[in-house]
Amino acid sequence: MPKRFVSIWFRHLLTDRLAIRNSELKGKAFVFVEVQRGRKVITATTAAAEQYGVVPGMTLTDAKAITPDLLAFDGKPGRNEILLKGLAEWCIRFTPLVAVDLPDGLLLDVTGCTQLRGGERVWLKSLIDRLTEIGYDVRPGMADTIGCAWGIARCAKKGLIVAEGAHRNAIMPLPPSALRLPFDLLLKLQNLGLYSIGSFIHFPKAVLRRRFGKDMVLRLYQALGSEEEFLIPLREPVPYCERLPCLEPIRTRTAIEIALQSLLDNLCKRLYGEGKGLRSAVLTYYRIDGKLGTIEIGTNHATHRSTHLFKLFSLKLDTVAPGLGIELFVLEAPSTDQVSDKQVDLWANKNGTDDEVVAELLDRVAGRIGKETIHRYLPAERFWPERNAEATDDLLKSPQTQWRTNKPRPLQLIVPPEPVEAMARIPDYPPKQFIYKGKKHVIVGADGPDRIEREWWEEQGEHRDYYIVEDEDGGRYWLFRSGHYDPEKQQHWFIHGFFA
């Protein structure tokens, strides 16, 4: 199947944009100017201004001499790129592959997209009608190659849709400027009397290269399709993607749910067929007023069960703002994983953390409260209490070492340790009493010290001497003295936890 490309030329991109913003300016002659080498040079004009003979590149004073009532606004360099990016995003509803073609156009790869909307003519008409309705003055071109579409859009008088395989004939009558050539080369061709592409298209390749350089050959052969040309899309298309255009704009929750369900069913069917499972999904909805919104979900476990995914999405459906109506839904799965197709147990066997039911439960929790609230810990071979357990978000990872049980550790850890006032009879002895939050605890039994050195490769600081102490009421605490005993120092003692 031959590829089909559309090039859209925005003839007055910047000025159209201003007229859309400010309806008083519609149809008036105004220009954008930028200061270049101390002169105010016109960079963009309106159609009305062009009728007076005002063209980009003219200085403002010259233009004012022709039309004294010409309005001028300060232009900002790089503005067109921002505008085109926004328009390209908007065009994604017509085709997934859209590229920005600086300075004033868009390139669309429409291979296989046009059949969905009743043929190329209807497809192109609906796109152009929508852009015109917004207020842009556009000219499209559709052809088998990017180069040809570009030239047709800019230079062809009529026949904007070039039939499949007819691009060679279509560019013959066009002037050389339809080939995206630099200005000095165009002048050279003009001087040689080569006014149309047809007058040099049959020249041998070697002759063209010798006389006009290899750029010229490349551009010509790209337009003819014998040289490969790639489109760099604005957004990389996701391999697992489902689109659902709506006949009528929809705005009720029930309708959105039906759309989501059918998208998920299609996507999951495809994933199931390929033995894959979804780890994250993004639902993008395009509204008729040109705005778009997304909702995202993530799963802890690769899955292709549409009921579960629907549940995750339905937690977030409240945030969908349909406005006047939604015309297109796109469901993408940016990350997928292989699924190990286990046989489903007949008896609900209680496995470990790899259980699918548990993973689905955690997905729901993550969907509502956030993924960062779910913690799982694996043993780490470290002594420093704060780093004894290593947090992981992988439910399947099994511990590499054993949990240590040779040293008693408090069931509740206070992070960070809180200072206490403690008193010991002799330095380096366990404390006799300590005051924590205004309450005095008299110690009747103590174990220790248990010295834990700091991990010098991580941080600097003093070691800790830990004591397990028990007070008169039976409360068991984990106290430590930071560093060696030093009468000069004010704060020595900290409480770090409660034993069971």
């Binding site: 470990g352 810990y377 043993p379 850890l413 039994g445």
Partner: protein, 241 residues
């Protein structure tokens, strides 16, 4: 005639127990938690799994003791497989210490909820999930309606739920199967030995549905509960350090 009456009453008692959410013991299910005399306080003389237990604590020391008691029970439950979900609002549990109570911390999933009101939502979702063995919920407020919801959730899924209430000011009526109060008491070593002994708690069952209340003293030793019968005060002979 008298014997017949007795039979009828016994049968009705059994019925009431079933209606209140207790299931007859499943064959192969865990029935021995090593709680000794305490298990007799429950209907059918078995620690009720698939139900909600409420633990009260007023101080961090008691919260820690309750945590130890719950971890001991969960450790036994996890021997049959499954995972445990620990839902809390302000968590202080130190995962490496759980192993001392027979719980593999890598089989516990901690959900640290940033807002108090989401704690019960997560707990209810977790209790409805059949792949989960036990759910521990650390919370502050716990009303009758909330406890009823949780109790209804577990009656269907047979998950055991522990609600650990911190900083309890007033005891409220709840639909839980049992209300526990665990307080740490001074550990005991051989006379004259310095140091701190095994964890020892005073376990009080304040309310049991269709059971008896009472209080016991337990020591956690060699990964098992050991009932301490001798309730004498510790002699003050123990030397300091």
């Amino acid at each position: 005639m008298a014997a017949k009456k007795q039979d009828i009453i016994a049968k009705l008692r059994q019925d009431i127990i079933t209606w209140e959410g207790f299931r007859p013991i499943q064959p192969g299910a865990l029935s021995n938690f090593g709680l000794g005399q305490l298990e007799n306080a429950f209907p059918n003389q078995v620690f009720p799994t698939g139900a909600i237990h409420e633990f009260l604590s007023t101080k961090p020391e008691e919260t820690s003791a309750c945590g130890g008691m719950i971890s001991g029970l969960v450790g036994k439950l996890l021997q049959q497989g499954g995972v445990c979900i620990w839902v809390s609002y302000t968590r202080r549990i130190y995962p490496p210490a759980l192993k001392l109570f027979g719980v593999d911390s890598d089989r516990v999933i901690f959900v640290d909820v940033p807002r108090q009101k989401d704690v019960l939502w997560v707990t209810e979702e977790a209790l409805k999930c059949e792949g989960v063995t036990a759910v521990i919920c650390e919370t502050h407020n716990f009303s009758l309606m909330e406890s009823r919801r949780l109790q209804l959730a577990v009656e269907h899924s047979q998950v055991t739920g522990f609600v650990l209430r911190k900083d309890v000011k007033a005891i409220t009526t709840t639909a839980c199967v049992a209300r526990w109060k665990v307080k740490p008491v001074r550990s005991k070593l051989r006379p004259g030995m310095p140091g701190v002994g095994h964890p020892r708690w005073n376990v009080e069952l304040q309310r049991v549905k269709n059971g008896r209340t009472g209080h016991w003293t337990f020591e956690w030793r060699n990964r098992n509960f050991h009932e301490v019968i001798d309730q004498q005060q510790l002699p003050d002979l123990r030397q300091y350090a």
